[in-house]
Symmetry: C2
Subunit: 361 residues, 2 copies
């Protein structure tokens, strides 16, 4: 087991992605709501610069009347605010072997923001969904080339998913306008689903009578074993628990050193498939487990706190692990389940800790 949980030799292409995009440093699991700038970021193309005065959102396609809304129009509507934990579908990719070449996340592509905006359903009802509409397409202003196709980033949801109460169009984080990197002036937020669902820099919502066949829906975010597989869609977040690594880090390797003493090990856990019912912890690499103490969660869609009093039995090397189980009975695996693009690898986190002090030489 590599202490660093990554297979070797990252390519220059992966590095070019890793220096732009970033995870949440795991000590930020301390915060109920992730401070702006620490939330993970995965940006497919470039961050668009949008003039909010000329920007409009169009809701069209298979509707009875097309709507065109300014940012002020959206702010004048019913406002909701909810803390939502969001995770990149590629989180854990960098721990797969062989490693699919894309943004090489280890464990840290997650964050919780308090999104402020307006619910989507009343807008769709006002536009009037026509009989026969099956999907809602969300189109962003960001453009690039992916899979050989020049495209704007767009993804669809089945109509029944788009009509869920918790689905919203967010124009703020807390009381502040969205930062450019989170989708200014408007983004979709679909609690419980992986990050790619939450289209940023939203400019158009289109009701479709046929399923959307675009790249990000039918190719990019599918589980497949070979390029020939059609594959199942990536949808909701699998359960995952992460811990704040105890002790202090070695700069160059991020390995941990801790005193021989009692440590409060804490973290967060979440699932898009149910509520978190249990978080187990281990200090021997997963050979034995015990239950942590579950804490609060700020909303149905935000992560749940947990903590554990850990007293190492003596000086030496430990491997701490944590493992979440949700109300639907899903549990994190010890080993990764490989797929071609490296999605949803929720194998348990492993933190190597060297304990010193006490009676050691």
């Amino acid at each position: 087991m590599s202490k660093l949980e990554a297979s070797a030799s990252i390519t220059p292409e992966e590095l070019a992605l890793a220096t732009r995009n970033h995870g949440m440093p795991l000590e930020a699991l301390t915060y109920d709501v992730t401070p702006v700038g620490l939330h993970y970021l995965l940006i497919h193309y470039d961050i668009p610069v949008v003039d909010p005065t000329s920007w409009r959102l169009t809701i069209g396609g298979s509707v009875r009347r097309e709507l065109e809304l300014s940012l002020d129009d959206l702010r004048a509507r019913r406002s909701v605010r909810q803390p939502v934990t969001m995770e990149c579908a590629g989180n854990g990719r960098g721990r797969l072997s062989p490693r699919p070449v894309s943004q090489p996340w280890l464990n840290e592509a997650v964050g919780t923001a308090e999104w402020t905006g307006t619910p989507l359903r009343p807008l769709l009802e006002e536009a009037g969904i026509r009989q026969g509409a099956v999907e809602v397409l969300f189109s962003g202003l960001d453009r690039g080339v992916e899979g050989g196709v020049e495209q704007q980033y767009e993804r669809s949801l089945p109509v029944d998913e788009a009509l869920q109460d918790e689905v919203m169009l967010a124009y703020a984080i807390g009381d502040e306008p969205l930062p450019p990197q989170h989708g200014f002036p408007l983004r979709l937020v679909v609690p419980g689903w992986y990050g790619m669902t939450n289209v940023k820099w939203l400019e158009r919502v289109t009701l479709l009578d046929q399923p959307f066949e675009g790249y990000q829906n039918t190719w990019s975010y599918n589980f497949r074993q070979t390029p020939e597989d059609a594959g199942e869609r990536v949808t909701r977040m699998e359960p995952r628990a992460l811990m704040v690594p105890p002790g202090i880090p070695i700069f160059a390797t991020r390995e941990r050193h801790a005193e021989l003493a009692r440590h409060r090990v804490s973290g967060r856990a979440w699932s898009g498939r149910g509520t978190i019912e249990r978080v187990e912890v281990s200090d021997d690499g997963g050979a034995t487990w015990q239950d942590s103490q579950l804490g609060e969660q700020a909303s149905r869609w935000s992560w749940r706190a947990w903590d554990w009093e850990w007293t190492p039995s003596g000086p030496g090397d430990y491997e701490l692990c944590c493992r979440a189980t949700d109300s639907a009975g899903n549990t994190q695996p010890l080993e990764a389940s490989w797929n071609l693009h490296g999605f949803a690898n929720n194998q348990v986190q492993r933190v190597a800790v060297t304990v010193t002090g006490g009676g050691e030489a």
Copy 2:
């Protein structure tokens, strides 16, 4: 010349750093002041969680009277606000060959924040610097292991540098308290110097009668060719110009595609050694150069805007470069000057752009 400007095979250790720390996506060069969350971040150890009510800053050592200041005390003092461009000393490290193993930056470890705080000099004058004091030591609350030494992050400045008008203790970015990752509740800001100088999570300022011999002063941030060299200290930022890459990116490689049309190529340039006097641009990999148009800068210590109207001569592959010259006569080199830790590599940025359209097949 690699299109991606990086030498091959990043190690798992470098990846563990690259997923935590992050650069500024280069399209954010558009902003005079970098939006929070897009400014580069290099965090040696863990981000401390500091309770601002119990936190105090001590100014002591070789002074006539030791000061202990709360955050309210500091906020009650004379307030200054200045946009300052800050760059990591390791920016460009990932482009060296062989590549020193540390945070593997390409070009993007930079940002400009509008720091709000109080000037340092009046505080030092109030404490009363005693005869014989030669350096001012700044100690942060962040702890870790580096070079085999357990330490808190601390760096010193010669007294005359610490007394410069522009040196400040910052408690806010604009009107908002410092985010945790930028040093909450207080950090040092030394305009013109590389990022390592700007100690975050500041808890103590100590006047020293002898030069500080700590790891971050005498070992970590020195230019050396071999581990045996003493090496010169890394101090002020070398000149650098960066451009917003034109066109649209390929997701997986960050290479650019652009239409055969006129493009406005823009960017920013800065130097800690003088004002920016010239930014030259090239579309043939540096074989020929022309002058860009220089724009404004928000303060003496912030980057200067530049732009250039680029009309590709036809479809094909181009390599765009930019090169800054400062008022002290320093110019960016075409090739890197190697050193053991990979500091201050300000070789010119190279952006590969494939132009299509117009008369092509």
